[in-house]
């Protein structure tokens, strides 16, 4: 019964999503970016870390010695590296940050949220107080402290962003679980003598998927922006590895000479988070038709 119910829900949701033009636009853009990131070595005209000091901060369209097509498509940076190639490789970092932190936080959040919601009592109390603490903590300050503690780098970034990030998801799952716990089909499953684990995994979680999917799709741009913010403060992904955040940071020193250098990574970053937000919005509308206006 449950299975059928959720299946039809997703089918309906899919239909609704297909009709939502902005969301589809977002999805297409995300696919393009993912594709570009995966095949960055194939698309990039140059090695993103190859420097050519005499050709620094050239405008777009300038001839290039390091690009295979002989031209800097979007200009060169302060070491004469190809901005276009760096943007492509930067996409890898940004997407990886977005996706990996969401996977980690969702796993932890679902686990803790489900336990807290299902069992209630002391577990719930303790876990939710911990979540409260993390919420009350100024998040950027915490990330900064974590990055100081761990040192910059992509893995440390995953850790820093995940330690706080799970709290929101745990709360979400918990409230869903509490609501579902009282429903007939869970009662029925209990009556059949199914173990708690099975009930949670088979009956409760599938019914929480909607809000989780939405929170993931909205969380990805959040993580991407957090990475950019940290990299901007010099605590994130370290040069020479390109990330959109550290590109903006470096570019802001050359605004007067080459303003476009700062504009490109900003635009790509914005479009990507924008696409995820569009998709997230679409998913929410699709999965929760009551909200659809």
């Amino acid at each position: 019964m449950t299975e059928r119910k959720s299946l039809s829900l997703y089918k309906d949701a899919y239909k609704r999503l297909k009709r939502n033009k902005p969301a589809i636009f977002g999805l297409i853009f995300i696919i393009i970016i993912v594709f570009a990131a995966l095949f960055a070595p194939f698309f990039a005209p140059a090695d993103p870390n190859k420097i050519d000091l005499p050709n620094r901060l050239k405008p777009s369209g300038s001839p290039s010695r390091i690009c295979s097509n002989g031209v800097y498509i979007l200009g060169s940076d302060e070491y004469g590296r190809d901005i276009f190639s760096r943007l492509l490789y930067g996409a890898r970092v940004s997407l990886m940050i977005g996706v990996v932190t969401q996977i980690i936080t969702t796993l932890i959040g679902v686990l803790i949220g489900a336990l807290a919601g299902y069992y209630g009592g002391a577990i719930d109390m303790v876990m939710m107080r911990v979540a409260d603490m993390l919420f009350a903590f100024p998040d950027l300050l915490f990330y900064i402290g974590m990055m100081f503690a761990l040192g910059p780098g992509i893995v440390n970034m995953f850790i820093a962003l995940s330690i706080i990030g799970w709290a929101g998801k745990a709360r979400l799952v918990r409230s869903q679980v509490i609501a579902l716990k009282e429903t007939e089909f869970v009662e029925a499953a209990k009556a059949q003598g199914l173990s708690d684990f099975r009930i949670i995994v088979k009956h409760i979680l599938p019914n929480c998927m909607g809000p989780i999917i939405v929170s993931v799709s909205i969380g990805i741009p959040g993580s991407i922006l957090a990475e950019a913010g940290l990299s901007f403060l010099g605590l994130g992904i370290l040069p020479p590895t390109p990330s959109w955040g550290n590109m903006i940071r470096s570019a802001s020193s050359y605004l007067r000479i080459q303003p476009w250098y700062a504009v490109w990574p900003g635009i790509v970053l914005m479009l990507t988070t924008f696409a995820f937000n569009l998709l997230g919005d679409g998913l929410r509308d699709a999965l929760d038709p009551r909200l659809k206006q």
Binding site: P22, R129, V130, D132, M133, F135, A136, F137, P138, D139, L140, L141, F142, I144, G145, M146, F148, A149, P221, L225, A228, G229, F232, L233, G245, I248, S252, L255, R256, P259, A262, V263, G266, L269, M270, L271, T272, T273, F274, N277, L278, D281, L291, Q293
Partner: protein, 306 residues
């Protein structure tokens, strides 16, 4: 009501203590010695030890933490390692600036967000609605520091409309407030729109319309009051986002607020100052959320506090 507030406040105590504990652990895990930061390039082991002793850094960690907690409970946040100024005074000196920035940003956000939200809701599915909602989403998507840098370049240097950086007069606050504010305006516009649309369909609005009230009166009198709920929610939700945003905005615009103070404290390893700032923002966050929850009750009697 009072009972509710008291209970909420009591529940917050372990949260606040937890926050200080996390901060304390984090500070002691972070490599880098506050004393080395203080003495500079000619470090002399003896001087270093002497200063450590003075600052109580040679005591066991548990003692250090308990000392902090007990002093903080008595309202004494200690003195900054670096300046020797009481932490409470340093926070007191910088917080008003951040508050001013936050309030001006909120003002921009509410004026811009609510009006765009209303027009979009009233003219649902119009070109204005569609384009505004896309602009709003783009506004949420743009990194605040990037917008700040670009705004500085265009409005500060090229056009010369506003001062580029620093905080010396009201004029200096305009550009940062707009940069930070438009970001929140975007979310407020989206929420106002959907809340209004929700409300417009409710029975009592239909009744009001049926009674022959003009469309404008309907929107303003009935709908808007109810639509304030999401606006208040957003304000509450973004209390912490605002501090985050202010760290970045304050760094780009060189505004001497709490955000920059916290960054400075962290990079100087000024333990008491970091502790103080984190404790302070956590309390602000908790109180802010309490106020938000209470205002729900006022805005919508149907929501009862429990």
């Amino acid at each position: 009501m009072i009972q509710y507030i008291v209970r909420r406040l009591i529940f917050s105590i372990p949260v606040v203590i937890g926050v200080t504990l996390i901060t304390f652990v984090l500070l002691n895990v972070v490599p880098g010695d506050p004393v080395l930061e203080m003495v500079g390039k000619h470090a002399d082991p003896q001087t270093i030890n002497q200063i450590r002793e003075q600052l109580g850094l040679n005591d066991p960690l548990v003692i250090q933490y308990l000392r902090f907690v007990f002093n903080a409970a008595r309202g004494d946040l200690g003195k900054s390692f670096k300046t020797g100024i009481p932490v409470s005074k340093m926070i007191g000196d910088t917080f008003p600036t951040t508050l001013k920035l936050a309030l001006s940003a909120y003002l921009v956000a509410i004026i811009l967000g609510v009006s765009v939200g209303i027009i979009s809701a009233v003219k649902q599915y119009s070109l204005f609605d569609h384009s505004m909602m896309i602009v709003a989403l783009a506004g949420i998507s743009a990194p605040v520091f990037w917008v700040a840098v670009i705004a500085q370049l265009i409005f500060g240097l090229k056009l010369g409309w506003f001062p580029i950086s620093g905080y010396y007069s009201v004029k200096h606050m305009i550009l940062p407030a707009i940069v930070l504010g438009t970001r929140f305006a975007a979310s407020i516009a989206r929420y106002t729109r959907s809340a209004l649309l929700d409300v417009i369909r409710q029975d009592y609005i239909r009744t009001a319309r049926a009674k022959g009230l003009s469309e404008r009166a309907v929107i303003f009198i009935h709908a808007l009051k109810n639509a304030m709920i999401p606006v208040v929610t957003i304000l509450g939700m973004q209390l912490s986002g605002l501090l985050t945003g202010s760290i970045l905005t304050e760094s780009v615009f060189a505004i001497p607020g709490l955000g920059r103070l916290s960054l400075w404290a962290l990079s100087e390893r000024d333990y008491p100052l970091v502790q103080g700032v984190v404790l302070f923002t956590a309390v602000i966050y908790i109180l802010g959320n309490l106020i938000v929850d209470i205002s729900y009750a006022f805005l919508n009697p149907r929501i009862r506090l429990k």
